[in-house]
């Protein structure tokens, strides 16, 4: 499976879906339009700074709050290749996998990696490398069926390419 490589944007605990994509923009469901307002209420200049492939690193409970899939959609459409966190809120976790946005739980990496670091993530092994610091971390590798969903770029494509709904094997 593919890997991610990019520059890190770093945030703290409890980054909620309201700051990831404020509800005042939820009258749209267009990914490109949502991306324009990604992280607007926590990091106003984010969309001007972010480059394709960049990585978000945060600490506890990333994506807490609403079930809006617009949050991972906005992050993905902004060009972010992976989100690393100590923990994710559970609906965000499901949504990210379902739309094919790679996310990795790793408390050590979430604590140590700093804004601006160059980081690589190997999704097969869950290994996170901070190229800037020369350190590596073992993130949680996905169960096989989640890897398949991410490889298919989301649940819909996955369902279309498999006989059953979700192969939990």
């Amino acid at each position: 499976m593919k890997a991610a490589k990019g520059t890190v944007f770093k945030y703290g605990d409890n980054v909620d879906t309201d700051v990831i994509i404020p509800a005042r923009y939820l009258n749209s469901s267009d990914p490109a339009e949502l991306a324009q307002h990604c992280m607007e209420d926590i990091d106003k200049g984010f969309i001007d700074k972010v480059q394709k492939g960049d990585i978000i690193v945060a600490t506890k409970n990333f994506g807490c709050g609403s079930s809006r899939e617009h949050a991972p959609i906005a992050i993905k459409a902004a060009g972010v290749s992976c989100v690393i966190a100590e923990t994710f809120a559970r609906i965000f976790y499901r949504n990210a996998i379902n739309i094919g946005l790679p996310i990795v739980e790793c408390p050590e990496a979430a604590a140590a990696i700093e804004a601006g670091d160059e980081v690589e993530v190997d999704f097969d092994s869950g290994i996170i490398t901070d190229v800037t610091k020369g350190t590596t971390y073992q993130g949680q590798a996905f169960p096989a069926f989640m890897q398949k969903i991410i490889a298919a770029e989301g649940l819909v494509n996955y369902i279309n390419t498999t006989q059953s709904h979700v192969d939990l094997g």
Binding site: L26, N27, D41, G65, S66, E69, A89, N98, N160
Partner: protein, 421 residues
């Protein structure tokens, strides 16, 4: 090994004798829910799937409630998309303006959610139906799409935290204070990925509306679901509202819990969550400074039910909202609205200088109907006080019960009814 109440419901819906925490299962769904924000995304996703229509037109509920009556052209287009999908797929439980209410107040009232169900909804407060002994949880739009197409969803079986409730709440303490107290105690990720199972003889002292409020905010502690045992009160509610048969599941005596807490309801005090997290709680006695307030909102899927309006009216009766205060009351459904009218509650609100709106989620998520300007403060009976949630990024939300919200409307600062002259 014994199973929790949640695990038993999930096992039954996965066709398994036994499940354990961490196990991945695929479960049959009794209901799939979406609103006007999440459904359009789900409908778009479903159109990409190679399926012929929905799995069961009677087991899908579509409730435009967030930005209706349409707040702008884009919202109108979203609602139109949902309406056309409902018509094309002959969705039985599509609720147009005039029939709609805030989804999590509406569906139990319509009898669509009963004990023993497995329900997913593309709205985080779908966990509300745990008050009736159902497993219900919030998901995103793609899960909703897959659920509508296949009638199934995958779950990681959750472990649980048990909250043993004892005693009887004192006057002006309600379900909102119970759940704010719990979130203050365990934090906004205190129940992350887990079930919150409520037990104990104190439950008998909580009304159904109290229980809906408590289960509703399980997500604010990170919980996958919140669930109550089915007692006579819950059974009577379901008999009154539903023609569906319900099924009672009870936790095994040897069920394993990650943590257990005992909460004496009689010791709880009116509780307020300060900006910008629901875990930043203080009891009314701990608030020493005057906190001036610009707006009060009484409503939402958390606190827009009849009990809530009755409490607010009891506080506002014969009183008037403070000079310069905006007090917005939003009954959660048409039936609640009508009953509030018949009981004279709406008259009380209007005479007190509050306004009463048609059902909508509007202000709770900063949609419309009560957006905050820079520097403004709101005491709200809603469920989240995140940065910018209700408007300007430099506005503040204080979460509280209907009693505290109504009293604060009168004094213009955060207050308890017990402090009113």
């Amino acid at each position: 090994m014994g199973m929790t109440m949640t695990q038993k419901i999930l096992a039954a819906h996965a066709g398994l004798e036994q499940v354990e925490a961490g196990q991945l299962i695929e479960a049959d769904l009794d209901l799939v829910l979406g609103n006007d924000i999440t459904s359009p995304v789900a409908i778009k996703e479903m159109e990409k799937m190679k399926v012929d229509g929905v799995f069961d037109k009677d087991k899908i509920a579509l409730v435009p409630d967030h930005f209706v009556p349409n707040k702008d052209i884009k919202s109108a287009e979203h609602c139109k998309c949902v309406r056309e999908f409902a018509r094309k797929n002959e969705i039985t439980n599509y609720f147009e303006v005039g029939q709609m209410g805030i989804e999590h107040a509406l569906l139990p009232e319509q009898g669509l959610t009963v004990a023993g169900d497995v329900i997913i909804g593309a709205d985080s407060h779908t966990c509300t139906y745990g008050a009736l002994g159902a497993f219900s949880t919030g998901v995103g739009s793609t899960d909703m799409a897959a659920g509508m197409a296949t009638g199934k969803a995958w779950f990681k079986v959750p472990s649980a935290i048990r909250f043993n409730l004892t005693g009887k709440p004192s006057e002006w303490v309600s379900g909102k204070d119970v759940i704010l107290h719990i979130i203050g105690m365990i934090g906004v990720d205190g129940a992350l990925y887990k079930s919150m199972e409520f037990t104990g003889d104190g439950i008998a002292n909580l009304t159904m509306d109290d229980r809906f409020t408590i289960a509703n905010m399980a997500i604010e502690a990170g919980g996958k679901n919140g669930i109550f045992p089915v007692d006579e009160l819950a059974a009577a509610y379901m008999r009154e509202h539903s023609t569906r048969e319900y099924k009672i599941y009870e936790a095994d005596a040897d069920a394993v819990y990650d943590e257990e807490y005992t909460i004496d309801l009689s010791a709880l005090r009116p509780t307020v969550a300060f900006p910008h997290l629901p875990e930043n709680t203080k009891t009314i006695d701990e608030i020493k400074d005057d906190i001036a307030v610009d707006q009060v909102v009484i409503g939402s899927c958390t606190n827009g039910r009849l009990d809530d309006l009755r409490i607010a009216a009891k506080v506002l009766k014969g009183r008037h909202v403070a000079q310069g205060m905006r007090c917005i009351v939003i009954p959660a459904t048409q039936a609640i609205y009508l009953q509030a009218m018949e009981e004279g509650l709406l008259k009380t609100f209007i005479e007190a200088g509050a306004i009463v709106s048609t059902p909508t989620c509007g202000p709770c998520l900063g949609g419309y109907m009560g957006i905050l300007a820079e520097g403004e403060r709101c005491v709200s009976t809603t469920n989240r006080n995140f940065v910018g949630r209700m408007g300007h990024v430099n506005s503040e939300i204080y979460l509280a019960s209907p009693a505290v919200a109504a009293a604060s409307a009168v004094t213009g600062k955060i207050s308890c009814p017990c402090q009113l002259p």
